[in-house]
Symmetry: C2
Subunit: 169 residues, 2 copies
DNA sequence: GTCCGATTGTATGACAACATACACATCGCA
DNA sequence: TGCGATGTGTATGTTGTCATACAATCGGAC
């Protein structure tokens, strides 16, 4: 059933093995991330870094764990990303006077300037991606993804019996 | 967590990076993959390996590049994955008598047995994920994802659409 | 006030996937 | 034939992310 005949040179875009929407989501996400990274390379950023920078710019100083939650990374990964951005002078860590465990991460003026560029790129990119997808479509998409995410979280929360064939619904 | 004092950006700017459906897709995909990997750990497989194995089982011997396309990985990554699966005796490489460049990858009986387990797990897992998401919804989701994917592919194929190349501040 | 559990950030090691470069085989064309 | 272009698989180094373990710190129970 899969189309394996032609190796269309232009669009490799394989919707792979099975047409399960779970796989489609993963594949699309990969393409999405790659596309963003590709375009953001001009700024020397990847998508995670750009998101981080944008968040800090919009919401002001934040602790690293807070940032980690926001961009959906682990604390360690967030830390090294902040390292990189700090080394480039795009943001800075200042100690929190009230809690000596944490850093307050804030964008430098230069960082804020770069975020402007990011948003420019971002706007154009998203416009391309959304061609032929109405606002309602997008909303429904987001809604479905949210519901799906909730299901996944629930499913992961409760530890499943070890082997296949325990109880099926 | 303290709701810290932000500078409250006067203008909403643009839809902030973290509630854009593009990000939602990426986040959901990550959860999806983690969830699969988590459950598949019982079999000693991750999602990519399972997909690969399943594909080979369902469609018979294939070359590595073909497999790479099918599971959406690069040739190198596919190669090392096949290495692992071969080392575990789940599939085997046999030379193609007609083309000495390629290997024909096929599942061993043991591999096929494992694929059965995989499908069992897979069925249950997907049932959990789909709770409250109708078949229609899923179709529309898949459809939107496909359109989005096409847009992305197009967008990436094209070198440089309308981008701030000349007028950087 | 003084401990003890919880939290924060970091160091470390592991891993999956990529891009690049390469060796080898094949195919098409002279 | 021979030979270059192309396709196939592998080696190598890099990157992004995670999990785990840890020191410093906080904050509440006593």
């Amino acid at each position: 059933m899969p189309d394996l005949s032609p190796k269309t040179p232009a669009a490799p875009r394989v919707t792979p093995s099975w047409h399960r929407f779970e796989i489609a989501i993963i594949a699309t996400a990969r393409e999405l991330r790659s596309a963003f990274d590709e375009r953001l390379a001009v700024l020397g950023l990847n998508l995670s870094q750009a998101s981080l920078l944008a968040y800090v710019t919009d919401f002001g100083s934040s602790t690293q764990t807070e940032l980690a939650e926001m961009v959906g990374l682990g604390r360690a990964a967030t830390g090294t990303m902040i390292d990189q951005l700090e080394r480039r002078g795009l943001l800075e860590r200042r100690p929190d006077p009230d809690d000596r465990r944490v850093w307050l991460v804030a964008a430098t003026p230069e960082g804020e300037r770069l975020v402007e560029d990011f948003y420019d790129l971002d706007r154009g990119l998203r416009a391309e991606f959304r061609r032929g997808i109405s606002r309602e479509d997008r909303h429904q998409l987001a809604d479905l993804l949210d519901r799906l995410g909730t299901n996944i979280a629930e499913s992961r929360g409760r530890p499943r019996p070890t082997l296949p064939e325990s109880d099926n619904r």
